[in-house]
């Protein structure tokens, strides 16, 4: 069955430090891959997505993610974290099941805390 795993429930980093959030998926082919961010009390906002091509994807707010087929991973990175990055981050995969139409599965989320 298809699944998305975010191994870290929460992560704390110092402001200015680098960040990597992990995401692993289980699917027979290459899915469509997404990272969303959710600030407190808000809906989800798309950070970046990967469909095909260059496996290093640039997103908004200085984030990037790298697709590694051999590891079934799509980890999110940022070289220098800002206090405003404190939020919850969701990895998601979308694919076309036999019934047609996309199906999206979300990971459980990783909450990022930023300390001064």
């Amino acid at each position: 069955a298809q699944s998305v795993t975010q191994p870290d429930i929460h992560i704390t980093v110092s402001e200015g430090a680098s960040l990597e959030l992990r995401c692993n998926y289980s699917y027979g082919a290459t899915p469509y891959l997404f990272w969303y961010v959710q600030s407190p009390g808000q809906g989800l906002q798309l950070l970046l997505k990967y469909f095909s091509g260059d496996t290093l994807v640039q997103g908004i707010k200085g984030f990037e993610a790298e697709f590694k087929r051999s590891q079934s991973s799509f980890n999110l990175r940022k070289p220098s974290v800002h206090w405003s990055d404190a939020a919850e981050y969701f990895c998601a995969v979308a694919f076309l099941p036999y019934t047609g139409g996309f199906k999206t599965i979300f990971g459980a989320g990783t909450r990022l805390f930023v300390k001064a």
Partner: protein, 112 residues
Amino acid sequence: NAGVTQTPKFRVLKTGQSMTLLCAQDMNHEYMYWYRQDPGMGLRLIHYSVGEGTTAKGEVPDGYNVSRLKKQNFLLGLESAAPSQTSVYFCAGGRRGTDTQYFGPGTRLTVL
């Protein structure tokens, strides 16, 4: 453009009461979705729609009904609310051919 909006933002119900959540979008999305978000479980799809007049079940459809009479609106109904339906509900829209989704701000529902 307002994007994706949800009404109401907060609601408290008693067990057995009914209510309808409204999602409206002005982005001309063909696809619309209703999710619930619970701590530690990410988002789970309740129902979705691929076009006006069509709906389909998602991962956790029991206890909910939906309707999409107009392209821009997607309604989520609870006929007899239960405490297990206490959650934050998100609506999202998306365009045909891609599964990038645009989310509303959410509705926090508490069932006592």
